[in-house]
């Protein structure tokens, strides 16, 4: 099991401090969801964990090594991160995109190895994109495109997968499809998944652990039962909520229903 740990990290964009001295550790192959209001710094934390943002203070350790000083190609063999806004040349095919996942393993001027080829096929198969592998990216639906991106990350053969709002811009059918796929990949490949989610009910249903971030600090970090409580979610988002338990197909889920906004909420404008 590979661990990722942030020790007292301070994150800044220019002069603006987003996160101050945050500690965070994931050392079990869980699905961990990071939730929190807009502007709380949750995506920023994810970027720091994925070495896309260099901390102004503190260190992120991947497998015990400083993620900023380790070779970025080595990091890419252990960890994959999909940012929220990923761009791609429209005429690129799914297959070409997934091939990039093997870049961390390829020597400077060497062709793809047998292992590269089989990993690429495996990654495409794992997300159900085999039928579409030579389709152009600009002919895919939003859900298919997201699956292609997931294939790219899977082709890296990572132990840790970081996802920034993987279901944004998708309808409920495709949202559910992507969440189930992530859960499936997690179980099948025993990958640790750390993702930023906006949909609280997805977080409750699909993760083992939830980290709630507010104003650049961890407000609470624990299992679903610990975090998914009316007073906690209420304080996190400044919303009156109702938590209900429902049964679907023999599984029990907690559901959060937003009731009313509270005064002085995080979204309140001056």
């Amino acid at each position: 099991m590979m661990s990722i740990k942030a020790e007292s990290i301070t994150l800044r964009y220019g002069a603006e401090t987003i996160v101050e001295k945050m500690d965070l550790a994931v050392d079990k192959a869980d699905i961990v969801s990071i939730i929190g209001p807009n502007g709380s710094g949750k995506s920023t934390v994810l970027k720091a964990l994925g070495r896309l943002l260099k901390p102004a203070g503190g260190i992120v350790f991947l497998d015990g090594k400083d993620i900023q000083t380790e070779k970025t190609g080595r990091v890419a063999q252990k960890l994959a991160i999909l940012p929220q806004t990923a761009v791609v040349p429209g005429d690129m095919t799914v297959y070409d995109l997934v091939c990039y996942g093997r870049m961390p393993y390829q020597k400077f001027f060497a062709p793809k190895s047998e292992e590269d080829l089989s990993r690429i096929e495996m990654a495409i198969g794992a997300t159900g994109m085999a039928e579409m592998k030579f389709r152009r990216m600009d002919t895919l639906s939003g859900g298919e495109r997201q699956r292609a991106w997931l294939s790219l990350a899977i082709a890296q053969n990572p132990k840790i997968l970081l996802l920034d709002e993987p279901t944004t811009f998708l309808d409920i059918h495709h949202q559910l499809e992507i969440m189930k796929l992530i859960s499936h990949l997690h179980r099948k490949l025993s990958i640790t998944v750390i993702m930023v989610l906006h949909d609280l009910n997805h977080a409750a249903r699909f993760s083992n652990r939830i980290i709630a971030v507010k104003k650049g600090a961890v407000m609470i970090d624990g299992g679903i039962g610990e975090v998914f409580r009316e007073e906690i979610l209420g304080a996190l988002y400044n919303v009156k909520t109702q938590i209900i338990k429902i049964r679907q197909n023999g599984e029990e889920h907690l559901y959060c229903l937003a009731d009313d906004v509270c005064e002085g909420g995080p979204h309140e404008r001056a």
Binding site: T72, V75, L82, T85, V88, D96, G101, Q106, K133, F134
Partner: protein
């Protein structure tokens, strides 16, 4: 070159056929146009004499006039034109990829303005040194690029800053060049031809000057196309798959600047190739740089040598400067391709 597209089992990449055809066509065009460039000219020379001059230059009869025309005039001219075309097309292709801007060409990072300013300064102010124009123009191009680099640096090259800095530096060098010309309007006769770009009187000296850059550039892009491809996915994804984004970008832009500077310094202002050729090839082979770079290089070489041959024979013995000729014919053709490519989606 590895044809990675063929690797997938089962169904094949539908673009593969088109890509191979385009690549072969560009290669065939390059060979055909280069051969025509050696064979055709204002003086008719028999094929047997041409072959002997090209392939057997130790011929005892090598003092004859036709041999001299082929070996000392046409052959170096054709080789220079091919390499200028290759370099400019590669430079443009790299710039468009790194800056992710379809309007980017080597001119945008100050290469042309720097070379132009220094070349004009030598031609007008120190005409006795005009033999040194190519190396001096090369230094001018690199100096201008260096300034653009410094201005656009902030934890690596920022593409947008680079474009803005390039525009500003080009304007500055352009202004100096215009000032020199305005204040010496009686001596600018020679500069006009240089500005139009051309290969008249190019010798083996010019071939030697550009050859190392052409070779180095070609080898480098064959090794580096993966990084150029990775940059197309945006900085964050590129980093996620292990590419060293800032370093790749710096090396690629520096390579592009070297290629363009070496081309401009031997051929004058031939900017058009770097912008048009990569775009045209993109319509045919798509945005994968594995194919885009090699097709652009071959087609760029073919286009310049072909255009130069036509430009010097069509109303022989008068030569049309090849830069003007290419722009006049190429721009409308490019617009046609663009419209066709767009409507097809």
């Amino acid at each position: 070159m590895s044809l990675s597209m063929a690797a997938g089992k089962g169904a094949k990449d539908p673009r593969l056929g088109k890509r191979i055809i385009t690549l072969s066509a560009a290669l065939a065009a390059l060979c055909a146009f280069a051969a025509a460039g050696v064979a055709l000219g204002s003086i008719d020379i028999k094929l047997s004499e041409i072959l002997r001059a090209v392939f057997d230059h130790a011929d005892p009869e090598n003092l004859r006039e036709n041999f001299r025309i082929i070996y000392y005039i046409r052959l170096p001219r054709v080789l220079t034109a091919v390499m200028v075309g290759v370099n400019m097309a590669l430079a443009g292709c790299i710039m468009q990829g790194v800056l992710r801007n379809p309007l980017a060409d080597p001119g945008i990072i100050g290469v042309s303005a720097g070379a132009g300013m220094t070349a004009v300064a030598v031609m007008v102010l120190f005409p006795e040194y005009s033999l040194l124009i190519p190396p001096i123009a090369f230094l001018g191009a690199l100096a201008a690029t260096g300034i653009v680099f410094l201005l656009s640096w902030e934890n690596g090259i920022q593409p947008l800053r680079m474009i803005l800095a390039g525009v500003a530096v080009s304007a500055f060098f352009g202004a100096i060049m215009s000032a020199i010309m305005v204040f010496n309007s009686d001596k600018i006769q020679g500069t006009v031809n240089w500005m139009a770009g051309g290969f008249h009187g190019r010798s083996w000296e010019h071939v030697k000057m550009i050859f190392p850059y052409c070779l180095f550039g070609t080898v480098s892009v064959l090794c580096g196309y993966r990084y150029l491809n990775a940059l197309q996915l945006g900085d964050e994804v590129a980093k996620s798959i292990g590419a060293r984004v800032e370093l790749s970008r710096f090396l690629l832009v520096a390579l592009s600047a070297l290629l363009a500077a070496s081309a401009v310094s031997v051929a004058g202002m031939i900017g058009f190739v770097g912008l048009i050729v990569p775009h045209t090839m993109r319509i045919f082979v798509g945005s994968d740089f594995e194919f885009l770079l090699s097709c652009s290089a071959l087609f760029g070489g073919a286009l310049v040598v072909g255009a130069d041959t036509v430009a010097r024979t069509i109303i022989a013995p008068i030569e049309i400067p090849v830069g003007i000729f290419m722009a006049l014919l190429g721009a409308p053709f490019f617009l046609y391709l663009l419209k066709k490519g767009m409507s097809r989606g």
